[in-house]
Structure formats: C-alpha cells, structure tokens
Symmetry: C2
Subunit: 192 residues, 2 copies
C-alpha cells in the first residue's frame, strides 16, 4: 500500500511539474512551486526526485514512453491520416503543448539538460515519419519530394504551428492549417 501510494505521488508530482514548466519554462520553474502544487514542502519533493534536473528527465521519459507506446509500431510509425488527429488532440491539450514548446525553445541554449533528448527525439521522429511516408507513397510523394525531405517539413510545420497557435489561439486554426499542409504534400487531387 505504501508502495502504491508512492507511485501515485510520483505521478502527481510529474503532472504538477508539467504544469509549472508550461507556465514558467524549466529555468523559470522552481522546486517550491511544484511542491506547493502537490501539497508538499520543497524538501518533501526532493525526497522523491533528488534534483531539479532529475525531475525534468522524469517528465521527459514519461513523454517518451507515452508517445512511443501509443504510436503504434516500433519506430514511431504513425499512420499518415492519424497525424491530423494527433494535431487535433494537441489542440485540446494546451498545457502539454506549452510545456514541450517551452522546453524545445530552451533546449537550443547551451548545456540545457533537455537538449540531447530533443536532438535524439527529432532524428527518431523524422526517420519514423519518412518510413511511414515511404510505405504509403513509395520513394516519391505526389508532391514530388522524397519521404525524408517531406518528413523534415512535416515536423517543422507541426512545431511552427504550435508556437503561432499558443501565442494567438484565436488567429490560428492549428488543425486546419495542418490539414492544408497535408493536402499540399499529397499533391493536386485528380478528381473531385
């Protein structure tokens, strides 16, 4: 029972950390703020995660499990049609989007603990997307690009849209815009 309670606590803490990072970024986040949100003192929090950085990597690993686990096949093999739904899903989870957009932004700075994570993650995701595209369209997409080159753009559009959407949700229809892009990739439809 104590063990279960402990796991539960850790999950609470991770959720709270996610929120706090969404609000202030990693550098702006403080152990005290996270602790307060789960009803602990800062010292109690450090009992579960020995350092601030440990907390961050736990959040990152959590995410990693989540979207390599739910993604279907082994190497992040998203079905192409499902990508649109993913974006729609994200549009309903602004906190998570904010967290990872903030972290991505910070991660390009020096010695940031999330940098390696994101670097590796993006190469994986690009490879996965490229594989999916190749499986679906062969070596040349309808738009004329190779799967690898299209994959870079696909990822770029997803990230870039998130920033515009976070800054001004009213002005940017994220899922719609992503759909537009998918349309471009698929090339000009023959009939109607």
């Amino acid at each position: 029972m104590a063990r279960a309670r402990s796991e539960e606590r850790r999950a609470e803490i991770l959720r709270a950390t996610l929120e706090v990072i969404a609000e202030r970024g990693y550098r702006g986040a403080t152990l005290g703020a996270v602790a307060e949100r789960v009803g602990l003192t800062q010292q109690g929090l450090l009992h579960y995660f020995p350092t601030k950085e440990a907390l961050l990597v736990a959040v990152l690993e959590d995410r990693d499990r989540w979207d390599t686990g739910g993604g279907g096949g082994e190497e992040g093999a998203w079905r192409l049609e499902l990508l649109g739904s993913l974006v729609e899903y994200n549009a309903m989870r602004p906190v998570i989007v904010r967290t990872f957009s903030a972290l991505l932004g910070e991660s390009v700075t020096e010695d940031h603990p999330a940098r390696e994570f994101f670097t590796r993650r993006y190469t994986q995701v690009r490879a996965g997307m490229a594989a999916t595209l190749r499986a679906e369209y062969g070596d040349t997409l309808p738009g004329g690009l190779s799967p690898e080159r299209a994959a870079v753009l696909l990822v770029a559009v997803m990230d870039g849209l998130q920033y515009q959407w976070l800054l001004d949700p009213e002005a940017v229809d994220m899922p719609g815009a992503f759909g537009d892009f998918l349309g471009l990739l698929k090339g000009p439809e023959a009939p109607s």
Copy 2:
C-alpha cells in the same frame, strides 16, 4: 565624441546581450554575463539600460527596425523569391537564430516580457506574407490554398526548421528544406 562613444557602447551591449541570450535564453541570461562581455561591471551596464527587461526590449526593437527596414515595402512586403535568400542568410547567422528561437520558446510562458512582441509580430508577418502571396498569385495559390492559409504555413515552416536545424545542423538542410516547401506551395510545375 562622448555621444558617439555612448551610441557605440549601446550597440556593443546589444550585440553582447544577443549572444548571451543565444547561449542561455532570457531567463538564464544575467546582467553580469552581459556586462563582462563588454568589459563593464554589472552596474556600469545598468547605467545604459536601467533594468534587465529594458535590455530585452531594446534588443527586440533593434530587430524590429532591422527587418522592417530591410524588408522592402511598408508592411513587411517580402518578395517571395527573397524568402529563400533570407533563410540562407539565417543559416549563416546561427547566433541570431538561436536568440530568437530561444526567445520565442520562452515567450509562450506566462508573464514573459517578449510575449506581446511576438504575438503582434506574428500577426504582422502573416499579414505581410499573405499580401505578398496575393500580389504574386491572386486569391488562389497554384497549390490551391488562399494566401492567408499559406502564410501561416510559411511562417510555421521557417520557425520549425530553425529548431531542427539548431539542434542538429548536420542532419537538417534548412535552406534546402525551405526550398522544398516553396516548391510545394507553387504547385506542380507545368513544363520541365
């Protein structure tokens, strides 16, 4: 001479600030680090810019002048072909790209002093792009999108590519990828 020297100093300071933000982000940047880089004490620095935030807005205004001034017409009317060159130019200025990518990332957090700047800036840039696209292609792009919808994607691709490129410059050919996207926008070429 003192006046000239002063202006010169301020320019030095802004350049140093840009560098420090590129390395540590705004929140991670410290007045001491900026001061050291221009050979001042932290208090000497505060003589020129009374607060840390004043320093940031100066950097932002500087950028604003730069790329509304150099952009050609009034409302950021970039010629479409020049966008490719801009991306190539950026690929040679990693420090600036890093600075603004880091700031963009931070700006989605709460109470960030750059948030309003980015929000306004993006609406402007989108509008400018849309105007350019409309001038060049009319109300429907070859790819089938309206100028406004294409503008969102254009901006998203530029930003998204920057992050991938900053994290792994070897793996991502930023100008090439952007060229690919422009190709998609322009739709399938008729002849060859």
